[in-house]
């Protein structure tokens, strides 16, 4: 029995520590620790909902659009606004652009380095690489020979740059299993992906002024009135990204999968999934979104989302108290009490800045897998068709449960990427039709400045919840529960592990120094730790007097 620790976990957003007990080559216990506290909800207190939209985006530089949207929806619910149809379409495009950006970056530039060794591509036979790419049906946009020469120049210089401290030699050199030709292909797509995620962001930059941190999403609609030039740019960029995604991402995933098949057999989390839904249709029903809202039980039976079933517990986190608080009455006081080496103090074992949210008393996994499982069970045609085809191609037709694994979670997000890329084309067409039909409304001014509302939405990495109470145009209580808060949760009041902790338990560790399978599993969640850590104030003022933090929250 020994301890294996990854700290810092890299190629994620934020600061994360993974500590594992390893027994007989397998993880027997795990502690997931979020390392940073910033206090967003306290900063937006007493500011306007319009300001909050700008400020809360800064929680995350990878998914700022989602935070802006959730904050905007919360404000619109508070003000009683239903946004114009053009604003709905443009916000879908804005969000879709961010999803594409985030998923492309995550798969190729963050997660892929757990599977692909670019340095091994030096050994590739270039002609074989072309043949293999054709056989795998994946895109050939780059000159493999030139790329290999470029890598050779890099290697000859000797400085490792972003490959410093790599784990390519993990498990005695057996952890990275791709043939050099596939490494070369995937390295070419790594570099293309950097351009493609930038192009996707450029779409968000066009509609939002800049990305990260967009400027035009605001309560009431959008502050962006597209010109004909804008429409042409949108149309062209959306098509360009679609073409690359559709010819590259799913084929690459299918080419990689056979070399890492065992990762289909471990990494399942808590087995319950939550999705708040994303991309509104014109009925603005969250359960009818393009990716619909829903919550599943262990048998993947889907039910509608009920806000009052959301609770939070922080008995294992660095906050005072051990009560469980129900939505939207969260109360928190941060208080660092030292990192307890997991298991040394089972009574007062606080080890993370992340709290433990629950739905109906149980922890939930969120993210691309959750969204697609809900969409699959709600019979969204595109998702059903492509998931079925994908399972068939993996050699496990009809076995949706296989998706509940490290590789399944990693792979299924490419289907979502393809779905979003397809929808982007539809939305641009829809926008053009709407404008052609004479609709020139993009914004509705609020008629009230007092109220309360919740924005249920999805960030690329899962279910996102913003809730606020507004009095005379000023925020009196703001709460955020972010996807990774769900996924990276510590143990709950009953001592049951959080979703990622459950995923880690049971995975094989062939190298306690470089536990690559643990890293793969963490990355399959696409964690966003900076977001995950948050602090809340009571929305209702019910427990107002009890919150007397040293820095003067009142």
């Amino acid at each position: 029995m020994t301890r294996s620790i990854i700290d810092p976990v890299t190629r994620i957003e934020g600061h994360l520590r993974i500590e594992m007990e390893v027994t007989n080559g397998k993880v027997s216990d795990a502690w997931v620790s979020g390392g940073c506290f910033r206090g967003m909800e306290l900063v937006v207190e007493n500011r306007t909902p319009e300001d909050a939209v700008h400020i809360v985006q800064r929680i995350c530089g990878v998914c700022p659009v989602s935070h802006a949207q959730a904050a905007t929806i919360a404000a619109e619910k508070s003000y009683g606004i239903e946004i114009p149809n053009n604003a709905r379409i443009l916000r879908n495009i804005l969000e879709g652009a961010q999803f594409l950006h985030s998923h492309i970056l995550w798969f190729y530039n963050l997660a892929a380095l757990d599977y692909v060794n670019p340095l091994n591509a030096l050994k590739a036979d270039v002609a074989d690489a072309y043949a293999l790419a054709q056989e795998a049906g994946t895109s050939i946009n780059s000159d493999f020979g030139l790329l290999q020469a470029r890598l050779k120049r890099f290697a000859e210089n000797g400085q490792l740059s972003i490959f410093s401290g790599n784990w390519f030699e993990s498990e005695e050199g057996t952890a990275y299993a791709l043939p050099p030709e596939l490494d070369l292909i995937c390295t070419s797509h790594y570099i293309e992906a950097l351009s493609m995620q930038a192009r996707s962001s450029e779409i968000a930059g066009l509609v939002g002024g800049k990305m990260p941190h967009v400027m035009t999403c605001r309560p009431g609609g959008v502050a962006f009135v597209p010109t004909q030039q804008n429409l042409g740019d949108l149309w062209a960029m959306v098509n360009e990204v679609y073409d690359w995604v559709s010819t590259t991402m799913v084929p690459d995933t299918l080419a990689l999968a056979p070399f890492y098949e065992d990762a289909l057999t471990w990494g399942k989390g808590c087995g319950r999934y939550a999705a708040w839904g994303v991309f509104d249709r014109d009925d603005f029903d969250m359960h009818n979104r393009y990716l619909p809202a829903g919550v599943t039980d262990e048998n993947l039976n889907v039910s509608d989302v009920v806000e009052s079933k959301i609770t939070e517990y922080m008995g294992h986190s660095w906050y005072e108290g051990e009560e469980t608080h129900a939505s939207p009455y969260f109360v928190t006081e941060p208080e660092f009490t030292g990192y307890y080496q997991g298991g040394t103090d089972t009574v007062n074992d606080r080890y993370t800045w992340v709290k433990a949210p629950a739905y109906d008393g149980k922890c939930m996994e969120t993210g691309g897998l959750a969204r697609l499982l809900v969409a699959y069970k709600r019979k969204v045609p595109f998702v059903v068709e492509h998931v079925d085809n994908f399972l068939k191609a993996l050699g496990v037709p009809g076995k949706i449960e296989v998706a509940q694994s490290t590789l399944g979670r990693t792979a299924i997000r490419q289907i979502e990427t393809l779905y979003v890329a397809t929808l982007m084309k539809e939305w641009v067409a829809e926008l053009i039709e709407a404008i052609k039909g004479g609709d020139s409304e993009y914004f509705r001014a609020p008629q009230s400045n007092t109220g309360a509302g919740t924005g249920f939405w999805e960030a690329p990495r899962g279910a996102l919840y913003h809730s606020e109470k507004v009095e005379n145009g000023k925020i009196k209580g703001y709460q955020i529960i972010i996807p990774s808060t769900w996924n990276l949760a510590p143990r709950d009041a009953q001592g049951i592990h959080g979703p990622l902790e459950q995923s880690l338990i049971g995975i094989p560790v062939g190298d306690v120094e470089m536990p690559i399978n643990a890293l793969r599993t963490v990355h399959s969640y696409d964690p966003c730790t900076a977001c995950a850590v948050h602090v809340s104030e009571p929305a209702t003022g019910k427990k107002f007097q009890t919150v007397t933090s040293p820095w003067g929250v009142k």
């Binding site: 990854i6 890299t10 900063v43 530089g61 400085q159 740059s161 002024g209 502050a223 609709d439």
Partner: protein
């Protein structure tokens, strides 16, 4: 081998006896496991014997450590949007990015080892993104089981220079806004407190524009110098002029053509966003020139008033951009003294307020006195406009028929009548909007439905424009 950062003679000896490093590591692990020794011992053994994890310590690439403090990763994300050179070229052919939490292949102890070896090898640039957090003795940010502050000071001490990238790194950014719950400060403040004298280049922005970082890197890599810095330690070429100085809507400001409300005709016409709280006049950055996302657009072009995200006094985290500029949509900010808050509606406050007041005199004041009516200074009608009635600037109240007549007169082929370009508003009072002309080409601009406020503002603007003409 002499170029390796850390050369282990021990390994060479092992090697000469036919024992590979991998065999040895395996042995270490086996011994540790058999003896039931905690992982730390095994790690310590490995630490002592590990070869270089950064490869050569010198070469064609400039070593860079890019650390994320209390960040949102937005500045790294922003860097990933850079186009010329693209990020792959930067990390393969310009810098050796030995430590980057977002892009680095390594993780855990070997990743931290890469940082240590880079520091030991020296001659590197340290880019720090995100705020420094002081709360709970720095435990508000924990990395590799240590407070984040330790990482900053340790890494900065031996660096050639520190780039504080983004407003959070410059002075705490939004995290430092009231009540500053995590004790956020900027890098310069932190280093000063710890007596570290490494020069700091402050590159504010939320996020920082990747071209700004590139400009700094070009100075260091190509010109082998640090950029010329202004009094706030920011590159003076980038952060001396205001957004307003280079704003593409500046002409509308001079003409007194403003957007008073979102969802109005003025917004669709691309008028100046000043009345909506645009912080362009008091915000120093060259966004209008550099632009964003492959130069595709920028905040003001898209329709978002500037929120002053580069406002960051590196010596005072209270003067962060959120505290200084909220409420973003208003021209005047709340006054906060401790827990006491005042929301002024008419009085101008602080330097920001005074500057705003000065601009009101410049912009609105001139409009009121009639000096800027229709866009001309000191003239009722510009001479050029008089000679070119078909292409004159500043006529915004022509009917469709008048437009067509002018276009026909000027020999401009009138475009096909747009379908449904005027629409009854879905909210508000259902005011029908007008089609107008703008610019010198006489092109029709699509009008936009307006809410009550917007319609009023448009009406007001029309009346003023008519009054001035008369």
């Amino acid at each position: 081998m002499e170029r390796e950062a850390i050369v282990s003679e021990f390994y060479e000896k092992l090697d000469s006896r036919g024992v590979t490093r991998r065999d040895f590591m395996k042995l270490c692990g086996a011994v540790a496991a058999a003896a039931g020794i905690a992982h730390i011992t095994a790690t310590d053994v490995a630490y002592a014997l590990e070869q270089s994890v950064i490869g050569a310590k010198e070469g064609n690439l400039y070593p860079v450590i890019w650390m994320e403090g209390a960040s949102c990763t937005g500045c790294t994300e922003s860097f990933a949007q850079i186009e010329t050179p693209d990020p792959a070229t930067v990390v393969l052919e310009l810098i050796s990015l030995n430590y980057s939490e977002t892009l680095g292949a390594g993780a855990g102890w070997s990743f931290e080892e890469a940082r240590e070896q880079t520091i030991a090898a020296g001659n590197y640039i340290f880019i720090y993104e995100g705020a420094v957090l002081e709360k709970w003795e720095g435990q508000a940010l924990r990395v590799a089981n240590e407070p984040g502050i330790e990482h900053v000071t340790h890494t900065a001490a031996k660096a050639n220079a520190v780039v504080a990238l983004g407003s959070c790194a410059v002075n705490g950014g939004w995290m430092a806004a009231y009540p500053n719950p995590a004790g956020a400060i900027g890098v310069q403040q932190c280093l000063k407190k710890h007596g570290i004298e490494t020069p700091v280049v402050n590159v504010p922005g939320c996020p920082a524009n990747p071209e700004w970082l590139e400009a700094v890197l070009v100075d260091v890599l190509f010109l082998q110098q640090l950029p010329d810095l202004n009094a706030e330690g920011k590159p003076s070429l980038l952060f001396t002029q205001t957004i307003h100085d280079n704003c593409q809507r500046r002409g509308h400001f001079e003409n007194g053509e403003f957007v008073y409300q979102f969802g109005t005709r003025e917004e669709a016409l691309g008028y100046c966003l000043y009345p909506l709280g645009c912080r362009g006049p008091q915000t120093k950055a060259n966004c209008g020139i550099t632009r964003w996302n492959n130069r595709r657009s920028w905040c003001v072009e898209s329709g978002g008033p500037c929120i002053g995200c580069t406002t960051a006094n590196p010596a005072n985290s209270n003067e962060n951009w959120v505290e200084t500029n909220t409420p973003f949509l208003k021209r005047h900010r709340d006054l906060r003294v401790g827990d006491f808050r005042l929301s002024p509606t008419t009085i101008a406050l602080s330097v920001t307020g005074l500057l705003a007041a000065a601009l009101v005199i410049h912009g609105f004041g001139m409009k009121i006195t009639g000096r800027m009516n229709g866009g001309a200074d000191f003239e009722k009608v510009r001479k050029w406009d008089k000679r070119h009635p078909d292409r004159s600037i500043g006529c915004y109240d022509l009917s469709d028929e008048e437009c067509a007549a002018l276009e026909a007169e000027a020999g401009v082929a009138a475009p096909a009548k747009p379908v449904g370009r005027t629409t009854a508003a879905k909210t508000g009072t259902g005011t029908a909007t007008k089609t107008g002309t703008t610019g010198t080409t006489g092109t029709r601009t699509r009008a936009k439905t307006a809410g009550q406020d917007g319609a009023d503002a448009a009406k007001k603007a029309d009346e003023e424009s008519k009054g001035g003409k008369a």
